[in-house]
């Protein structure tokens, strides 16, 4: 039962998101014209439809994101116990982060974060 609050947050999020999608269909006036349905009302016509392919570079960034996401997630358990774990825990965390920071430095210097 201790997670009821969490459930309420989920419910609220669902409610707000649903309302935001549903309300405009009630309230917004619908007067379409040829210009309005174009992807960009003013400016150049689009060259290609957006369902084309993405550059592979995005997935490289996504993989780096996963790696550091896992790292950050493993910091939480230490953070909530930081007093109980004391200096040994601090040292252990330092080694853990040190190795990954070296990896981060390597990635940075090797140009892993550059777009081209």
């Amino acid at each position: 039962m201790e997670h009821v609050t969490l459930l309420m947050v989920f419910g609220l999020a669902l409610l707000v998101a649903g309302a935001m999608m549903w309300l405009p269909t009630l309230l917004a006036p619908r007067r379409t014209s040829a210009a309005k349905v174009e992807p960009f009302e003013c400016g150049k016509d689009p060259l290609a439809l957006p369902e084309g392919r993405f550059a592979i570079k995005f997935s490289t960034v996504a993989i780096f994101f996963i790696i550091f996401d896992i790292e950050v997630m493993l910091i939480f358990p230490w953070a909530v116990q930081v007093r109980a774990l004391g200096w040994t825990g601090y040292l252990a965390m330092l080694v853990f982060l040190g190795v990954l920071m070296l990896g981060f430095l390597y990635m940075w210097k090797k140009g892993g974060l550059e777009w081209d």
Binding site: F58, M73, L85, V95, L102, Y106, G111
Partner: protein, 171 residues
């Protein structure tokens, strides 16, 4: 209350898993997978495995799904690449093989080995708050300190590996 939540979430989880497999559009499939992963996170919470639920949402529903969606966007097949499935004949084998496996499992479960067996050790009793993040923190940085540190080296290997494969000629 817990039981009600379990049934609702379990039904949604199974439905979204089915939808994931059956939808033709891969992006829709990915979105159903997010729903499924979220449901599983709630199931973890019901088992009071809080850290696992957290990891499920942050890593799977968050990071890994982003990668999935990117990968789908990169690989989304153009018209010229969607032909009939070359392995279609193999589908004929799937049903009989699956049936044989199911039969095997049923036979094993009914066999004497399983019925008469004594578990070698009683399942360890979980202390209160076992799945909580405090417990995980204590275990991770005391009892399982060594695997914890090895994890950082594993992540380092992943980083270097991505650089080796994805990066154009290093400048």
């Amino acid at each position: 209350m817990n039981l009600v939540v379990f049934f609702v979430v379990a039904v949604v989880a199974v439905a979204s898993a089915l939808a994931l497999v059956l939808r033709r559009n891969p992006i829709h499939g990915a979105l159903f997978l997010v729903v499924n992963l979220g449901c599983v996170a709630v199931l973890y919470l019901l088992l009071s495995a809080e850290f696992l639920a957290l990891a499920q949402v942050i890593i799977y529903a968050g990071a890994i799904m982003v990668l999935f969606v990117f990968a789908i966007m990169v690989l989304i097949p153009g018209k010229e690449e969607t032909g009939p499935d070359p392995l279609r004949p193999q589908r004929l084998l799937a049903l009989p093989l699956g049936a044989v496996l199911l039969l095997e499992i049923a036979l094993i479960l009914k066999s004497s080995v399983f019925q008469a067996a004594q578990p070698v050790a009683p399942p360890p009793a979980l202390p209160a708050g076992a799945g909580g993040i405090e417990t995980v923190g204590r275990l991770l940085l005391r009892d399982y300190l060594f695997p914890f540190e090895v994890t950082s080296v594993l992540l380092l290997a992943a980083l270097v590996g991505v650089l080796a494969l994805a990066k154009r000629k290093a400048g």
